[in-house]
C-alpha cells in the first residue's frame, strides 16, 4: 500500500493538516502536499480510467507530465475538469472526483472496451468512417458518444475572474530549477532586467531531490540562497506558480500564473496571463523521464522512478512498501537508494544494461544490500487495479519469465528527454543525441528575432546537460550571454563548480524485452491516457502511416491532454524501428503552445460580459433604453429594433411603428449611418473612382444615391452623397460600412492615388442624425420653426444648412421609406435635446419613434435594397437592376473592369425580383426556390432564393425580395420555396416595388 512516512517530506508542513474529499471520501493531507501526494498518502493509487479502454489508471508522475491523474475539481461555478492531481496544490476543503468511468471508479462498465481491444486497433475511428450509415446509427455512434470526451464540461458560469498583464524585460528565464536560477542570477548581476518564471510553487526543480553540492554547499541550500538573493534584487522579478506557456515571434512570450488555485478563498483574479516582450529568452525547463515499454506497464503502481523518489523526499509519502526498480540508466539507482533510506524494501533493480563495471551509484545501491540484476527486464506485471508483482526476463530474450518477484510499485526509468517545447515553439531546431537517446536543442539553429539574431537560449537539463556540474555551469554561462545580447556586461566571476557522482552511459531500450512478441507488444503502453500501445504504432507503420505526423493522428499517440510528454519519444522510436530508419530521420511531431493546458478564462482575461466588446452608443441611446427599446446589435452599436409598449409584443410594436410612419409621423435615430467628409481639389475625381455613378457632376446643394463596388466588382456599400461645396462632398455609408469604407478610401488614397489631393475625415460620431418621416414630417419641422423646408425651398434630393427650433441643423431631403422624409443632422452634443424637441412638436402630429425593423419593412415595401440582405459579397449591381447607377461616361471606376468578366456578364445570373405568396403568408428568409430535376449530388436543383422577407402591415400581406434565375423576364410566374417548417410556399414573381410605384409620396 501507499502511505505517509513517519519522517521526511521537505515540502510539507505536518503542523498544518488539511482535509479534502475524493469521490465523496474525506481524506487527510498537509499543507505543501499536491493532491497526488495526498491521495497516495491515503492509499489511493487508482485515480481514473483511460480514454478508450477504460483501463484502471494510477498516478505515474509527480509533475506536469502526468497523463493519468486527471480529476474534476470543485463544484458549480468553480467546477473544472481534467485537472492534474500532480500539480494541484492541496487546500483545506478541496473537492475532487475521478473521471471517465461509470458507474464507479472501482467498477466500470466501459472497461468491457478493454476486452474488445483487439477489435479496436490503431486508426479504429478512421476505419469506422467507411462503414455504411445504418451501422453508424445503431452501432458506432452510440458507442462513440458514450466513450467520447474526458471529464465533464462545466455547466455553470465561471465564478472566478481573470486578467492579462503586460511585462517587458531584457532576459526572461523560464524555469527556476538550479540552471534557471543560475542563469537569472548571472544575467541580473550584469544589470539586465530579469523576469524569472517557475511553474511550481517553489524554485529548485529536481536538484534538491537528486542532491549533490555546488562550490562545496549542498544544492538545496544553494537553491534557497539563490531564491532569496533574486527576490531581493531590484532588477529581478521572480514569479512562482507561473508557467512559460509559449514562445512566439520576436520575443513574445505568454506566461500563465495561477494565483488562487491553491487558496480559493484569497481575493483577486484566479489566473493571470502574462504577455511578455523579452529581449532574450532562456528556456531552463528541465527534462522529463521516459517510461519503459514492457507488457503491463500501465497497471496502477507502475511509476516513473523519479516520481517515486519525489514522493518520498518532497512529501514524505511512500508509494509502496516493496519497490522494484527497472531501468536502462544510472539515475533510477537514486530512487532505489531513496526508497531504501526511507526504510522501505527494494526487492530488485532490473537493469537492462550489461556493463563492464559498476558506476558509483550502482556500487552504492549494492552496498545498501539491494539485489541488482544486470541485463534483465520486466516480462509481465501481475495485478489489475494495483501491481502485485513482476515477471523477470532477460532483456536480450523474448520474454520467458525466469522468476516472479512480489512488489507493489514498479519504478521505471527509460532515460530522460529535455523539455525542448519552448525552444521549438518558434522554430528552434533539434538534434539527436545518441549517447543519451534524446532530442536536444541545436544551439546553432535557434529562433531569431526581427533583427535576425537568436533570441532564445537554453540552459541545463533542457539543453541536454545532466550532471550537476554541467547544469550549473551551463546556467551561469547562459545568463551572462543573454545579458550581453541585451547590451549588458556580465561580471567576471568564476563558474560555479558542481559535484555529483559520475554515471555510466545509458542503453537505448525502446521495447522490453528486446524480442518481445506480439502478445507482449499489445500490452506495452506508450500513451496511457489515449490507450496507444507499441503494437498500434507498429500497425500504423505497416499500414503506410510513415510520417510521424500521420502516425500520431492515426493512432492518437500524444494527442491527449498531456500532449505526449511521456509517450512521444518512445512512440517515434518504435515508429523508426518499424520503418527501419534512424530516429532523427523520423523526426518529432510539432511542439505547439501552450506547454500545458491553460484556462480559457486566462485567455479571455477581463474581456467578458460588458467589456468583451464595448457598446457604441448614439447620443439618444439612453432615451431609447428608457422608452422600451428592444435592442438589435448592429456592429458595435445597439440600435432599437422596435420600441415596445406595455402589453405589446415586439411584433405588434413593429407593425404599429410601420403603419404610423406611413400614416402620421415617425422618428428614426439614424446617427449610426457613416458620414465621411471627402475634401480637396481631386475629391470629385476620387469619388468618381469609388462610386459606380458620377459624383463629380453633382451640384452643391444636391444629393445623389451612390453604389460602391470593390475591385472584384461586387457591391460593398451604398448611400446618399451630398455635395457641400466646390471641393467638399459628404458621403453617407451604411452603419456597418462607416469604418470599413473610411479605410477603403484611405487605402486607395495612400497606396494607389497618393498624388491626388484629397482628405477624408470620418465624422460619423460628430453628428446626431434623425430621420423625420411621414406625411406630417414637414409640419413637424415647420412647428420647430426656422429654415424654410417647403418643397420649393428644399426639394427632393436636396440639402440645406439652417436652424430648426434654434438648433444648428443640416437638413437632407432624402427618403429610405418612400414617404416625405427629412434627415436632420445636428451636433452630437445636441442630439438628445433635438430629439426631445421633435417629440414635443410631434405630439399633436401623431409622432412615434420607429426602430430598425420598421425601417426594413418600409424600405422593402419600396423595393430598396439593403447591403447585407440583397448583397452577400457575390452580388453585383446588375443583379439588382441597378444598371442606372453604373456610369457609362466614366472610363474607369472600381469594379468596372470586373463587370465585364465572363461570369459577371453571364445572362444566367440570378436577378432581383419581388415575391408575393399566393396565400399572403410570409416567405421564410433565405429560402431557396426549387427547379426541376436534381444535381450531381442528388439534391433538388434551385433557381433562386429569398433575400428579404417581411409581413407588411400597410399592404396586409407578406412581401419579399429575392434573386431568381431570369427573374425579371418571368413576371407573374409562380415558383415554389420549400421551407424548413415542412411547408412549401408558392410565390408569384412580381416587381420589387410594392408601394407607391410612381414615387409620388416622397416628392411632395
Amino acid at each position: 500500500m501507499s502511505t505517509r512516512l513517519a519522517t521526511g517530506g521537505r515540502l510539507i508542513n505536518t503542523d498544518a493538516p488539511m482535509r479534502f474529499t475524493f469521490n465523496g471520501k474525506v481524506m487527510k493531507g498537509y499543507a505543501g502536499d499536491t493532491l497526488a501526494s495526498a491521495l497516495l498518502a491515503n492509499d489511493q493509487m487508482l485515480v481514473g480510467r483511460s480514454f478508450k479502454y477504460h483501463r484502471p489508471r494510477g498516478i505515474v508522475a509527480s509533475g506536469v507530465e502526468e497523463p493519468n491523474a486527471l480529476v474534476n475539481l470543485g463544484v458549480e461555478g468553480k467546477f473544472e475538469p481534467n485537472q492534474r492531481a500532480t500539480t494541484t496544490e492541496l487546500f483545506d476543503g478541496l473537492l475532487a472526483t475521478s473521471q471517465n468511468h461509470w458507474p464507479s471508479l472501482e467498477f466500470d462498465v466501459g472497461a468491457l472496451n478493454a476486452r474488445l481491444s483487439r477489435f479496436m486497433p490503431a486508426g479504429f475511428y478512421y476505419k469506422m468512417f467507411i462503414h455504411p450509415r445504418p451501422l453508424w446509427k445503431h452501432v458506432y455512434e452510440p458507442f462513440i458518444r458514450q466513450a467520447a470526451g474526458l471529464g465533464q464540461a462545466p455547466k455553470g458560469r465561471d465564478a472566478d475572474s481573470y486578467e492579462h498583464f503586460y511585462a517587458f524585460c531584457d532576459v526572461l528565464v523560464v524555469g527556476a530549477g538550479i540552471a534557471g536560477l543560475m542563469a537569472a542570477k548571472s544575467a541580473a548581476d550584469a544589470g539586465a532586467r530579469v523576469l524569472s518564471l517557475e511553474q511550481a510553487p517553489q524554485g529548485g526543480g529536481r536538484a534538491p531531490v537528486d542532491g549533490g553540492q555546488v562550490d562545496g554547499v549542498p544544492v538545496d541550500k544553494v537553491v534557497d540562497q539563490l531564491v532569496s538573493e533574486l527576490t531581493e534584487m531590484p532588477n529581478v522579478t521572480l514569479r512562482l506558480r507561473t508557467m512559460g506557456a509559449g514562445v512566439y515571434d520576436h520575443g513574445y512570450v505568454l506566461g500563465y500564473e495561477r494565483l488562487t488555485d491553491h487558496a480559493p478563498d484569497q481575493p483577486g483574479p484566479r489566473h493571470r496571463l502574462w504577455r511578455i516582450k523579452a529581449g532574450q529568452v532562456i528556456t531552463a525547463t528541465g527534462a522529463i523521464e521516459r517510461p519503459l515499454s514492457f507488457a503491463g506497464n500501465d497497471v496502477p503502481g507502475v511509476m516513473l522512478a523519479s516520481a517515486v523518489r519525489d514522493y518520498i523526499v518532497n512529501y514524505g509519502v511512500s508509494p509502496g512498501d516493496r519497490v522494484a526498480v527497472v531501468t536502462n540508466n544510472d539515475d533510477a539507482y537514486r530512487t532505489a537508494i531513496a526508497v531504501k533510506k526511507a526504510g522501505l524494501d527494494v526487492p530488485v533493480i532490473l537493469d537492462a544494461r550489461v556493463l563492464p563495471e559498476d558506476s558509483p551509484l550502482m556500487a552504492e545501491a549494492r552496498a545498501a544490500g539491494i539485489r541488482v540484476m544486470m541485463g534483465h527486464g520486466v516480462a509481465s506485471v501481475m495485478g489489475g487495479k494495483r501491481v502485485t508483482g513482476i515477471g523477470v526476463c532477460a532483456q536480450a530474450g523474448e520474454g520467458a519469465v525466469l522468476e516472479e518477484i512480489g512488489c507493489d510499485v514498479v519504478a521505471m526509468s527509460g532515460g530522460w528527454s529535455p523539455v525542448v517545447h519552448l525552444w521549438s515553439h518558434c522554430g528552434g531546431k533539434l538534434q539527436w543525441d545518441s549517447d543519451y537517446a534524446m532530442f536536444r536543442p541545436d544551439v546553432h539553429k535557434a529562433p531569431v528575432g526581427g533583427d535576425g539574431a537568436a533570441f532564445v537560449r537554453t540552459a541545463g537539463a533542457a539543453n541536454g546537460h545532466f550532471g550537476l556540474h554541467e547544469i550549473v555551469g551551463d546556467g551561469h554561462a547562459c545568463g551572462g550571454l543573454a545579458a550581453k545580447a541585451t547590451g549588458h556586461t556580465p561580471r567576471k566571476t568564476d563558474a560555479p563548480q558542481g559535484d555529483s557522482p559520475s554515471e555510466a552511459p545509458l542503453a537505448q531500450v525502446w521495447i522490453m524485452p528486446q524480442g518481445a512478441g506480439k502478445t507482449l507488444r499489445a500490452k506495452a503502453w506508450l500513451d496511457y491516457q489515449n490507450d496507444v500501445k507499441v503494437s498500434d504504432v507498429q500497425l500504423a507503420a505497416q499500414e503506410g502511416f510513415e510520417s510521424v505526423e500521420h502516425a500520431k493522428r492515426y493512432t492518437t499517440l500524444g494527442m491527449a491532454t498531456d500532449q505526449g510528454k511521456l509517450s512521444n519519444i518512445n512512440g517515434l522510436a518504435i515508429l523508426s524501428d518499424a520503418l527501419d530508419q534512424p530516429i532523427p530521420q523520423t523526426g518529432t511531431t510539432t511542439f505547439r503552445p501552450p506547454y500545458t493546458p491553460i484556462s480559457m478564462g486566462a485567455i479571455a482575461g477581463e474581456a467578458r460580459g460588458a467589456v468583451f466588446q464595448p457598446i457604441r452608443r448614439t447620443p439618444m441611446h439612453d432615451w431609447h433604453e428608457a422608452n422600451g427599446a428592444d435592442w438589435e446589435p448592429v456592429g458595435a452599436w445597439r440600435r432599437p429594433y422596435a420600441y415596445v409598449r406595455q402589453g405589446e409584443s415586439v411584433h405588434d410594436a413593429v407593425m404599429r411603428e410601420t403603419r404610423n410612419t406611413r400614416e402620421n409621423l415617425g422618428l428614426l435615430d439614424a446617427s449610426t449611418l457613416g458620414k465621411l467628409l471627402v475634401k480637396g481639389p481631386d475629391a470629385g475625381r476620387f469619388l468618381d473612382m469609388l462610386y459606380t455613378n458620377m459624383m463629380s457632376t453633382l451640384k452643391p446643394g444636391k444629393c445623389r444615391y451612390g453604389l460602391m463596388c470593390g475591385e472584384n466588382g461586387f457591391l460593398i456599400d451604398d448611400g446618399v452623397v451630398a455635395r457641400i461645396d466646390e471641393d467638399t462632398w459628404l458621403c453617407h455609408t451604411t452603419t456597418g460600412g462607416a469604418d470599413s469604407i473610411h479605410q477603403h478610401m484611405e487605402e486607395w488614397l495612400q497606396t494607389e492615388w497618393w498624388d491626388w489631393q484629397v482628405y477624408v475625415a470620418n465624422l460619423t460620431e460628430q453628428y446626431a442624425q434623425v430621420a423625420v418621416v411621414g406625411p406630417n414630417a414637414r409640419a413637424a419641422l415647420e412647428a420647430l420653426g426656422g429654415m424654410d423646408v417647403s418643397r420649393d425651398a428644399l426639394g427632393f434630393m436636396e440639402w440645406a444648412d439652417g436652424t430648426l427650433g434654434g438648433f444648428d441643423a443640416r437638413v437632407y431631403r432624402i427618403s429610405f421609406s418612400g414617404e416625405l422624409s427629412y434627415e436632420v443632422a445636428v451636433r452630437a452634443s445636441q442630439g438628445q435635446a433635438f430629439w426631445d424637441a421633435l417629440m414635443a412638436v410631434g405630439d399633436s402630429l401623431g409622432v412615434m419613434p420607429y426602430g430598425t425593423e420598421a425601417l426594413h419593412i418600409l424600405r422593402a415595401e419600396k423595393g430598396f435594397i439593403m447591403i447585407g440582405d440583397e448583397t452577400d459579397g457575390t452580388v453585383i449591381p446588375q443583379d439588382l437592376g441597378l444598371h442606372w447607377a453604373l456610369s457609362k461616361k466614366k472610363d474607369d471606376y472600381l469594379g468596372k473592369r470586373a463587370h465585364v468578366r465572363s461570369h459577371m456578364a453571364d445572362p444566367d445570373r440570378w436577378k432581383l425580383v419581388g415575391l408575393e405568396t399566393l396565400d399572403g403568408s410570409t416567405l421564410p428568409d433565405g429560402a431557396y426556390a426549387v427547379a426541376d430535376g436534381t444535381n450531381a449530388n442528388g439534391q433538388r436543383n434551385v433557381q433562386g432564393r429569398v433575400t428579404s422577407s417581411y409581413h407588411s402591415p400597410n399592404l396586409g400581406k407578406g412581401i419579399a425580395m429575392g434573386l431568381v434565375h431570369h427573374g425579371p423576364d418571368r413576371m407573374g410566374e409562380v415558383i415554389e420555396f420549400p421551407g424548413t417548417d415542412g411547408k412549401t410556399y408558392q410565390a408569384r414573381i412580381v416587381s420589387p416595388v410594392f408601394y407607391d410605384a410612381a414615387g409620388e409620396k416622397q416628392d411632395v
Binding site: H250, G251, K277, G449, G450, D451, G452, E746, Q750, K896
Partner: protein, 109 residues
C-alpha cells in the same frame, strides 16, 4: 507576434496594432486590360519561402500604410518604407542582398 516600426510615425509596436495588407507593389489593371492581366492583378500572389515584400497599415496608430521586407521563414525584418513607391528603395535591396545573397522576388533583384 511581430514587432514592427512604422516608418511614417516612428512608433515601434506589436503586430496587433497593425493590420497586414498582403503583397506589396501590385500593378493595378483597370478597364481595357486583358483577362490574364486582370486575373493576375486580382488573384495571383507571391508566396515565397524567404524574402517577401508586403503591405501593412498602422491601424491603431497613425493610420498610415507602409511596406515591409521580411523573411517568411525566420521572420527577420529587413526594413520598412513608405507605401508611396512602386519599388523597394535600392538601399533596402542592398541590405537584403548582404543578408540573403542571390534572393529574388517577382521582377526585383
Amino acid at each position: 507576434m511581430l514587432t514592427l516600426t512604422c516608418p511614417c510615425c516612428g512608433v515601434t509596436a506589436e503586430e496587433t496594432e497593425f493590420h497586414a495588407g498582403g503583397e506589396a507593389h501590385l500593378t493595378r489593371y483597370g478597364p481595357g486590360s486583358d483577362d490574364t492581366e486582370f486575373e493576375g492583378y486580382l488573384f495571383m500572389r507571391e508566396n515565397p519561402k524567404g524574402v517577401h515584400f508586403e503591405r501593412w497599415r498602422h491601424v491603431y496608430g497613425c493610420g498610415k500604410w507602409f511596406q515591409v521586407a521580411r523573411c517568411t521563414v525566420t521572420l527577420e525584418l529587413f526594413g520598412a518604407y513608405p507605401a508611396q513607391t512602386t519599388r523597394p528603395p535600392q538601399a533596402l535591396q542592398d541590405t537584403i542582398t548582404a543578408k540573403r545573397p542571390g534572393w529574388s522576388w517577382n521582377d526585383i533583384a
